[in-house]
Symmetry: none
Subunit: 417 residues, 2 copies
Amino acid sequence: MRAEIIAVGTELLLGQIVNTNATYLSQGLAEMGIDVYFQTVVGDNAARISQAIELARSRADLIVFTGGLGPTQDDLTKDALAAYLNRPIVIHQPSMEKIESIFSSRGIHMVESNRRQAHMIEGSVPLKNEAGLAVGDGLTADGTHYMLLPGPPREMKPMFDGPGKTWLRSVAGDTHRLFSRILKFAGIGESSLEQKLIDLIDAQSDPTIAPYANEGEVAIRLSTKSQSEQEANAKLDRTEEQINQIVGKHLYAREDIPLEAAVIRLLRASGRKLSSAESCTGGLLAELVTNVPGSSGEFVGGVVTYTNMMKHKLLGIPMSQLEGTGAPGAISDSTAALMAERVRERTGSDFGISLTGVAGPSESEGKPVGLVHIGIARPGMPPAVHTIHLSGSREMIRLRAAKSALYRLWLELVDNS
Amino acid sequence: MRAEIIAVGTELLLGQIVNTNATYLSQGLAEMGIDVYFQTVVGDNAARISQAIELARSRADLIVFTGGLGPTQDDLTKDALAAYLNRPIVIHQPSMEKIESIFSSRGIHMVESNRRQAHMIEGSVPLKNEAGLAVGDGLTADGTHYMLLPGPPREMKPMFDGPGKTWLRSVAGDTHRLFSRILKFAGIGESSLEQKLIDLIDAQSDPTIAPYANEGEVAIRLSTKSQSEQEANAKLDRTEEQINQIVGKHLYAREDIPLEAAVIRLLRASGRKLSSAESCTGGLLAELVTNVPGSSGEFVGGVVTYTNMMKHKLLGIPMSQLEGTGAPGAISDSTAALMAERVRERTGSDFGISLTGVAGPSESEGKPVGLVHIGIARPGMPPAVHTIHLSGSREMIRLRAAKSALYRLWLELVDNS
């Protein structure tokens, strides 16, 4: 079954609100094994809604509307579809009674237009609105299925998930459900990852292998349609193992968690604790790590030493290391090593991680934007230092630097576990 | 001029990402006086992209694409439009050189597909990509204008706002432009702000007054259509002054900058320096502040003391303050005051700001999720402590706590400037 989502609302076309409904509905339909080929947004205009219906009918078996069921004169979806199908509008009595009783219980005068929220297209199955007043419709006409849902997400979601899906199952019959698995990667870019997997991606269509990038991380979604979870898992396991053979040292999770959560898990498993000393990332690494719920067991704390004086005062790094002729400077591998070692000592943690570099927009100490040194101090060994060159905006360099440092620590933890 | 936005990407149809690009582009086009009648989302499929182009051409003068310009074989937008228009693909030499030099400077092997990001449709104006590799296109063919933008928002936004708008103005000609002004507020919620301004909002239609909330901050957009900037500014000034009369103590900027940037400006103007000591926010405040370019002049650094032991080790707070029968505990106003004072002393800064509280998901020290104490140590006065109660997810509580602390500091700086 092919579906199209039509979101109705001029506020969407003006960019006043984000079309999160289309995302939610697409997800829900994909999980039911229904393919969405197009999403359309149209304004509160009867002629253009009609035009969108005409088009969607030509290319979809199911049209899911969201928006335009409210009480105002801008809410046109039901009237437009009824006119298009040449069917009359009828009153859904239970909804009408609910609307009347709510207004009378609140002692508010009900304006006539509120009655519109009890309108239905003749022949529809009513879709109950648990969170609002406008009733929804499920309707099949001339071989096309139509679902009409309200626009506010807190009304739309429960209507779709409850009576909407029940009605959909009754008309869609048995479908193969879509099962997905997310694999998360670090220390590798989206295009390199795809390059390494290209033969695998080209050679197989089930499960599908789709790479995507987001917030400094790279993910692959494996998807397969199946009638049982067991059958799906067997197929997903097989493909995952093939991927693991090729890029296993970058594969840090088999679910959609950020890298810092994987690092915290490894620390927890080995009973070890982490601290941080940040310069160019300004606290971002600490912020990412502490955003993992329960991370206070593994992350003890750290320092943000943004100036040379702070590197001296808070970490005891000699000024002669940082400034003056012949000094390595703040942005150097030896300073990264010292920062990591000192924060480890001062906090008494097992690992100390440090970042010093140039986030931009302009160079610093004559060193180029994007140059970052990562230090990792660890038990019983001298600190490791990694030097990387990043590109992008200030914000992206900071994020990529923090993720790179976490990746280096992750490798350290995996290799020694 | 009528525009249609076509977002290309199967991940949108699967509901894996939200189509925020359509929102951003719709806003930007509205500001230029260009009406958007439809937004369409289509998958990474050449035939369906072609079908979407055909349809959009029939109902729009301008088609803005976003997505599908990347290096992978799923990135089909340019090829599909070139094929539709029957125009060849050419190489944009400056982009090719940039791509080659970035790969060679990083010492990474460049895979062939990366060259695709320098492709252009013959006859296009190149739209420079400041934040990524794929070049964009501005093109007029058979009376229809086409703009091709990348999908990742951090690449799309600067391309649209910079070279994209320049090209659009060159083809769109004179329109009644929409002039907008953003007013930014802190220390007040969206609905309280709207409530206080409701009479003003209801009473006037030009400029329009639209409140919206985003990332822990609240903004108002004033908009007016006008042929001259001077005329628009006079109207915007008048409305701004009316708003300032009512909620001036929350109005921290007359442009779209985050609160931390306004705080840095005030510190800079008075030649004073800031440090931070964070517990529940885990480095988020430092991260926000250091994300402001040039903030190293005003923010010296700070500590993330996530555990009691770190509050003791890094800030010298007595363990008897933090633990044991009758101790105030880590989550207390007196600890917040001590943290702020000690980080101020240890760093030698003028202001020290501290945060200690419960971000969740579960309570701590028997104190409820959302309770946060903010300490502000300042020159020549005892530290100020503010206790707040926040709601939302762990992430939202952390963000709101950091923003609340910045708001308190902002008030301090404004009152004493």
